[in-house]
Each structure stands twice: as structure tokens, then as C-alpha cells.
């Protein structure tokens, strides 16, 4: 992919882009459960885990393991850095479209 700016390789994979787009839509200060996110994306748990791992490594998502009552629950949220990366990514895509 060539263009005026380099597209963020972490987000530039369909599955991770969908993850980040979903988390961004939730808005700041909101977290979603792992099963809730999996359902929204229609991914397998294993596949989602792999992509979340890559996004977490890049500092784009925060994974919080906690308990709701006695049930262990995992929440996922976009970090500020992740939100900025997504905004930059969409801005670059729009730039590319304008140039095309």
C-alpha cells in the first residue's frame, strides 16, 4: 500500500481494524466484555485473543481481568493511544481517497 502517509500496520489488518472500530464506537470511558466483543465481531475466541494480544502489545487496547460477583470477567477497552491511532488511520484513508 503506497500513499502520502504510512498506514499503521497494527490496525491495517481487517480483523484488528474491526476490533478497533468497534471499541472506538463504544466511546471513551466504556469497556466491553470479551464475549460481548466476540459476538459483535463474529470471531472465534481464539482468533479474537490473538488480535487483542497484538493490539495490547502496541498499547492500543487495555484488557482488564476482574470478577463480577464470583464470575471472572474480562473487559476490553481502547486506550487513548489506540483511539488516536484509529483517528490517524481513518484520516490517512480519507487522504488516500481524496488523492485517488
Amino acid at each position: 500500500m503506497t500513499g502520502p502517509r504510512e498506514l499503521d500496520p497494527v490496525i491495517h489488518a481487517q480483523a484488528r481494524l474491526r476490533v478497533v472500530a468497534t471499541l472506538n464506537t463504544l466511546g471513551e470511558a466504556n469497556q466491553i466484555t470479551f464475549p460481548g466483543l466476540r459476538e459483535l465481531l463474529g470471531m472465534t475466541a481464539g482468533n479474537l485473543s490473538v488480535h487483542l494480544g497484538k493490539l495490547e502489545e502496541a498499547g492500543y487496547v487495555e484488557i482488564v481481568k476482574t470478577h463480577r460477583g464470583r464470575t471472572p470477567t474480562t473487559y476490553v477497552a481502547l486506550t487513548r493511544q489506540g483511539r488516536r491511532a484509529f483517528e490517524d488511520y481513518t484520516a490517512t484513508i480519507r487522504e488516500l481517497l481524496d488523492l485517488g
Binding site: Q14, L17, T22, T25, I93
Partner: protein, 209 residues
Amino acid sequence: MNRLDDDDDRPLSPEEMLRLIEEQQATTVRRLGGDPLLTHTPWGITWLAGFGALYLNYAYDLLSRSTALAVLFALMVLSMATTFFAQRTVSSQVRGEAADRGMMYGLSWMFGFACVVAICVRLSPLLPSEETGLLWSVTSMAIVSALYAAGGALWRVRTMFFLGAWLAALNVAGAIAGPTVHALLISVGAGGVFTAVGVVQWMRRRGGA
């Protein structure tokens, strides 16, 4: 897992990427906004049948008042349970500001209806039977219309806001015209429209999913 990773690496054009983002955002909003078939439609059917039964009683005496009220109340309980179930499914998946907002919004309905019950119980003995029915209906619908519109404002959902506004307009017209017309307007105007909007949104959602 790796196979899927390879699939994801298939290069997409900027147009396709943008479309992917927009589709995912729309899906998220639709799913977390609750299933329209479980929110608008049950109330639409409740008003269509419940106020329809009341209209048949007021206008033609085809049903007894107690039968009409039994239909209305039974459907209301069913709708409340359905709405509660639909909202709980969504709110159990999200925490943070959105969930807090949803919980406070839910409690606002309880506060509003507590006031309706208080004033109606106090005033009902002073009114003729048909006017008592109108008092309960108009005050209840006032809360429903205001909170529907407020919900639309809170989540920036225009359809919800306009449904609230439409309900308020019917309620005002019915309050002025009297119990028979009010029952007819809420049954056909509100019940019919809410049912249709729920079904249309659900069909669009299925088409877009």
C-alpha cells in the same frame, strides 16, 4: 488462527477499508442500541391491543371495562419484561459511562411512574369513571413520550426522539378530545406506528447485518 491471520492480510483498497470501518460502527450501534423488535414493537402491540380494547369499551361497549383493562395490563407486564430482558442483555456486556447512563435512564422511568401512580390514586376518586381512565392514560403517556424523546436526545437517536414527539402530540390531542378519541389515537396512532417502526428497523438490521 494463523489461517485467519493470513486472510486478514489480504490487502484492501482504501474504499474497502473505509466501508469496513463504517459497517462495523453501524453494526455496533445497532447491536448495543437494543433489538428494535424487543423494544419498540412490544409496546406498539400493547397499545394497539390494550387501548384498542379500551376504545371498544368506550365507543361501542363491546367489551367490559375490566376485560379491556385486563388486556392492557397483561400486555404491559409482558412488554416491561421484554424490554427489561433486552436492555439487560446489552447492559451486561458493557460497563462505564454508557452502562451508567442506561441504568439512570431506566430508573428515571420508575421515578416518573411513581409520580403518575401517586397523583392518579389521589385524584381518581374525585372524577367520573371515564375521566379517571383518561387521567391514568394521559399522565402515563406523558411520562412515556417525554422519556422516549429524552432517550433519543441522550443517545442521539432521531427515530426515538421523533417517536416521543409523535406520542406527545397524540396524547395532547387525545387529552383535549376525551377518553374515546384518546384511546383510539393511542391504539392506532401510537401502537400502530411503534409496531411498524420496530418491524421496519428489525428488517433493515437483518438486511444490513
